[in-house]
Amino acid sequence: MSSTTSMRVPLPASSGNAGRSREWRVWAGFGRWLTIAIAVTVVALPLSLILFQSFLSAPFFMPNKTFSLDAYRFVFDDPDFYSALKNTCAIAFGMLFIAVPMGGILAFLMARTDLPGRRWLEPLLLTPVFVSPMVLGFGYVVAAGPVGFYSAWWMSTFGTEAAPWNIYSLWAITLIAGLTHVPHVYLYASSALRNLGSDVEEAARVSGASPFRVAKDVSLPMVMPSLLFAGVLVFFLGFEVFGLPLVLGDPEGHLVLTTYLYKLTNKLGIPSYHLMAAVAVLLIMVTFPLVLLQRRLLRNAGRYIAVKGKAARQHALPLGAWRWVALAIVTLWLIVTVFVPLSGITLRAFVSHWGVGVPLLETLTLSNFTDLFENDSLVRAIVNSFGVGILGGAAAVACYTAVGFAGHRRNDWGSKLMDYLVLVPRAVPGLLAGLAFLWVFLFVPGLKEFKSSMISIWLAYMVVWMAYGMRLIQGALMQVGPELEEAARSVGATRGQTSRHVTLPLIKSGLLASWLLVFMIFEREYSTGVYLLSPGTEVLGALMVSLWATGAVDQVAALSVINILMVGAGLAVALRFGVKLHD
């Protein structure tokens, strides 16, 4: 080996004087603070508008508004509010008691046992997460409503006057909400169970525990934090449900807080923004603590997983003959929550009319779809939905990445602020966020032109799903070992160069996966666009909400199928490329 004789190469930065390089670093830091400032603005501005509006006596654009507590007084005097609150609590607790045990059992069966057909069951189980609740709601109405396909089939088969179920009752709404949220619990419980190494279970087996004792004494206690987290999540989602109670609760007049807020829109004849703001503030006062609680629990859950064993090889627990019983239970759940609504809405999209005694084969038609294309606003809705999913999804991922980098491997107050900031939109149901953004576009001078462009929809979507997107991005960033970045710094790369040359290339596939997931979420979204809906900003989800109210069932059914296909395409691509659908 020869000894080195070549000259030492100084870094370009260190060859200049120290003052210049310091100045450069100030500029590099400026980009980060700008990102933080923008993020704070887009999150805090709409929220503070809601708060501000709730303390006014009239909508903020009215000349005669004054500061007062009238809005709260009105709401607290309204018997409908109490009935909505009662129903919301009933639904939230019902969801908790249905979804958590079912999700836990499902997770155990899928992750730990030799249940037949686990491979093809997995994507089916997740369907309710990705299909819009509005679509599921429509599906239940046309499939199992008083004159639904399956109700008609039941009546003609058994010769009864009516089907033995009533999907418009509060019980049915609670049951359906509970069943459709089983996958949320399943996701967290199963990933915790999969992270759990077999060794801890094998240690229990060696000590003399039977497989069921192992589950009871070792596996389930170890995933308890995840179940607890999922429970709080489901309870929280119970306060957010909008689509299902809007569709199913309407016929019998069952209101929940979100639908109560929606119906307030025109309660007094004029836009009653102040009343809605008051309800919104009350709702956020419930949801925000729940979000903080979730964050706490998620941290603890992570700490628990840190003591996991090696997740190398896992042995499935043999169920014996019980496997068929288990499969029957899973299949029954799938039929009720996936097959019934989706088959119903799909069938509805392809028939012109139906009823007791009408042979369905003779009414089959494609006209529901061909008619769509004669309506400009419907075509625009389809194009816009794709646009906001594909382009908007990419732009949103870019924003989330920028925010992610602003907090990455830093431990100053800026990154702590971002940590909490991204949680805030999580506590605001999409319906409220959309409303708040509408106000922003009305209120802030110079933004009015954007109100009727897709930018308003995209901005609202981006902020509403910020917490979700940030979790995806941070998950990807955490995969990059700190020493890979430190190595770049040590050979002379600045923070910015390290991010561009090392971190970003390494999280590329994570970003693509995030894009796909954000695409699906944006296609599924329906409540955020409700108040932003105007000629030019039609998106499928929000348009279906307003079409349903006008009774245009043909169009809603056809659009639902198109919506399902969009999400399904995303899901198929995700499965094809092995994207993890959850963390």
């Binding site: 080996m1 070549s6 030492r8 430190e486 770049a488 040590s490 002379g492």
Partner: protein, 354 residues
């Protein structure tokens, strides 16, 4: 010529003080090892020199220029220190080829493409990696990855190279070869190197000088021979080599000569500490200094051999004597039974019990 000076460096995480005033010098062409148990602060010290940790006070000077100076509020960012750092995990960038991994530091320095190509190739050839330039890190063996990591840190000729446990990721067999290879490389390229290790054999083999750290302070500093043969404290004596530790009472002290007594035995030793007759003391003697002998004599104890363990190049014996347990090496197998064992007085270091 002194390359690197660290003066009274302090560093804390939150409330815990990790470095409590460390000072040392690294001369040009010298290899210094930071040795210590886990939690002693050795890796933190190395990372502070690299600029990856933020000290709270003190100074770090490279060629007389301050990299860090707590009093003057100077803290050069990592990338402007131009040091070479080899990570314990190697930290090769998985999305870049070997060539791109090694060449990155040069392209950051705006070296022309043709020169980058030539210099990277030269560095890779020096480390016998010339044929692997187009491979990706995951296609390399552990030993090759280690050499790529070293090439990456050397290619821009840093004034000092920092190595964080460079051998700990290799399997035991490879480690000894790599140790010799690394020492040869450092010597032949005349590098100035600061190396972190927890393995005393590695530290002794690799370095010109060793800094033994204990709880964020330098316990003892010196050549490997000084640390091994003339430990100044009980901690150093115990950290280096394989030792027998005997608890006893001091019977008498005469200059350096100490007489110790235990449960049914008496030994003479060398005082390496301030001792007072009647107090408790610890005697430390290296395993290889204890000798099994034929009969009684000075500084000999009769003890019962419990078992003899074959180590390949020698045997290790385990003796019991009353409450005393000690081990010794020897060249031949021995049956269990009573033997006379000698503890040469000059190798029997006596320290006061704290």
């Amino acid at each position: 010529m002194t390359k690197l000076i660290v003066e009274d460096l302090h560093l804390s995480y939150d409330a815990t003080e990790i470095l409590k005033g460390v000072s040392f010098h690294l001369k040009a062409g010298e290899v210094v090892s930071l040795l210590g148990a886990s939690g002693s602060g050795k890796t933190t010290l190395l990372r502070a020199v690299a600029g990856l940790e933020q000290p709270s006070s003190g100074q770090i000077l490279l060629d007389g220029k301050a990299l860090y100076d707590g009093a003057k509020d100077i803290n050069l960012p990592v990338e402007q220190r131009s040091l070479g750092l080899v990570f314990q995990s190697y930290a090769l960038w998985p999305h870049r080829t070997v060539f791109d991994n090694v060449g990155y530091g040069l392209s950051l320095r705006k070296v022309p493409q043709a020169e980058i190509k030539q210099r990277v190739q030269k560095a890779l050839d020096q480390l016998d990696l010339g044929h692997l330039a187009e491979r990706f890190p995951f296609q390399l063996s552990g030993g090759q990855q280690q050499r790529v990591a070293i090439a990456r840190a050397l290619v821009y000729n840093p004034p000092v190279i920092l190595l964080d446990e460079p051998l700990s990721n290799l399997d035991a067999k490879l480690r000894e070869e790599a140790r010799a290879w690394l020492r040869e490389l450092i010597v032949s390229l005349n590098l100035s190197a600061l190396c972190v290790t927890h393995d005393q054999t590695e530290a002794m083999a690799m370095s010109d000088r060793i800094l033994l750290l204990k709880n964020g302070k330098i316990e003892q500093e010196g050549t490997p021979a000084e640390l091994y043969a003339a430990p100044k404290s009980l901690y150093t004596a115990e950290f280096m080599g394989s030792n027998n530790k005997l608890s006893a009472k001091v019977v008498s002290v005469e200059g350096e000569q100490v007489k110790l007594a235990g449960d049914g035995w008496e030994l003479n030793g060398l005082a390496r500490d301030w001792l007072t007759a009647g107090n408790d003391a610890q005697a430390v003697i290296r395993l290889e200094r204890v000798r099994v002998v034929d009969g009684p004599g000075d500084n000999r104890i009769k003890a019962k051999l419990i078992t003899a363990m074959y180590l390949g190049d020698r045997w290790e014996y385990l003796f019991h004597q009353g409450g005393l347990r000690f081990r010794a090496y020897g060249g031949e197998p021995r049956d269990a039974g009573d033997y006379w064992v000698e503890f040469p007085a000059n190798d029997c270091w006596v320290f006061a019990t704290a």
